[in-house]
């Protein structure tokens, strides 16, 4: 995969990460936190919702322990992403630690659906992760420094992440040998959105999905 193809692949994430990163940076500056903390957070934490949560906790002067526990619980969903990447990453060199570090919702989505030939997969994956993190860093730093004075009305551009997930769901549906998990997830997602509290919706729905997947393994595999 050449560099332009990688850029093209990550454009949807760029369209989401830059405005979302800017929103994050803007919020950070409103809390009167110096802009370089936006840089530190996006370089080291690199978790969209996790960083928003951290700001909320900073604002309410939560203890360090509370910040740790809350972030862990919020990001626990990433464990499922890792679980789906074990055999792919297994053959990679030590550089896979960066891939594991950078396994956000969106990076996971791109890695799982990109069709990279096995011989240069590691390199392509590293670039995808790195580009995504760059978009996020650029957005958050720009937002922290001059979020208030951007002339272009980009309200709604974060919908590109929703559209990205929609498109990748279709791609994975076509790729997957079994089709039932897709329909089960539609029901669980809808149910989760309506029933579960918004902040816990993702992790609860994912746990439910894993539970159903395992318990009903036989009927998932029967038919098609």
């Amino acid at each position: 995969m050449n560099f332009m193809a990688l850029i093209k692949l990550t454009i949807p994430v760029m369209m989401g990460y830059i405005p979302l990163g800017m929103a994050f940076g803007l919020l950070l500056s409103k809390l009167l936190i110096p802009w370089y903390y936006a840089l530190f957070m996006s370089v080291f934490i690199f978790a969209g919702s996790g960083q928003f949560l951290a700001l909320t906790l900073f604002a309410s002067q939560a203890t360090i322990l509370e910040i740790g526990i809350a972030t862990f619980l919020l990001n626990l969903r990433h464990t499922f992403y890792g679980l789906s990447m074990i055999s792919t990453f297994k053959e990679f060199s030590w550089k896979k630690h960066y891939l594991i570090f950078g396994l956000t919702d969106e990076t996971f989505a791109l890695l799982k659906t990109s069709d990279v030939p096995a011989d240069n997969r590691e390199k392509a994956y590293l670039w995808i992760t790195f580009l995504n993190q760059c978009y996020w860093i650029i957005g958050s730093v720009v937002g922290a420094i001059l979020g208030n004075i951007v002339p272009f009305n980009y309200e709604g551009i974060e919908f590109s992440l929703t559209a990205l997930f929609v498109v990748l769901s279709i791609e994975l549906y076509k790729k997957n040998k079994l089709h039932k998990p897709f329909f089960v997830a539609l029901i669980i997602g809808l149910f989760g959105m309506v029933i579960f509290p918004p902040q816990k919706m993702l992790i609860l729905s994912l746990c439910l999905a894993a539970f159903v997947l395992i318990v009903f393994k036989r009927s998932m595999e029967s038919g098609k």
């Binding site: 934490i45 978790a47 862990f72 990748l168 791609e171």
Partner: protein, 107 residues
């Protein structure tokens, strides 16, 4: 806010986030993934992706105007274009454009 507090918070948030991402790799570093794990590995991603769609829509106010119409249209445009043209970038770009026009100019 004190810088020691912010730095401490950032360090712990970094460790907590990284922990959630590395746990499965540590667990299976010495163990061989079972047939069940392989089955989960194959079938969980599509479920995750579908659930992420609903997660992205979790803050929509369905019961009050404009009843999530912009989101529904945006999602429908993405699905329609993607089934028709199979071009991810085109589907995402146009769906986002339609959504932005809807919420900024129409609804």
């Amino acid at each position: 806010m004190e810088s020691s507090y912010l730095i401490g918070g950032i360090i712990i948030a970094t460790c907590a986030t990284y922990a959630t991402r590395i746990i499965p790799f540590l667990w299976f570093r010495t163990r061989e993934p079972s047939a069940l794990i392989k089955y989960i590995e194959l079938n969980m991603p599509v479920m995750i992706m579908v659930i992420l769609v609903f997660y992205a829509l979790k803050d929509v106010k369905w019961e009050s105007y404009p009843y999530g119409i912009a989101e529904l249209i945006g999602v429908a445009v993405a699905i329609g274009l993607h089934i028709k043209f199979k071009n991810a970038l085109l589907s995402i770009f146009l769906a986002t454009l339609v959504y932005m026009v809807l919420i900024q100019k129409i609804l």
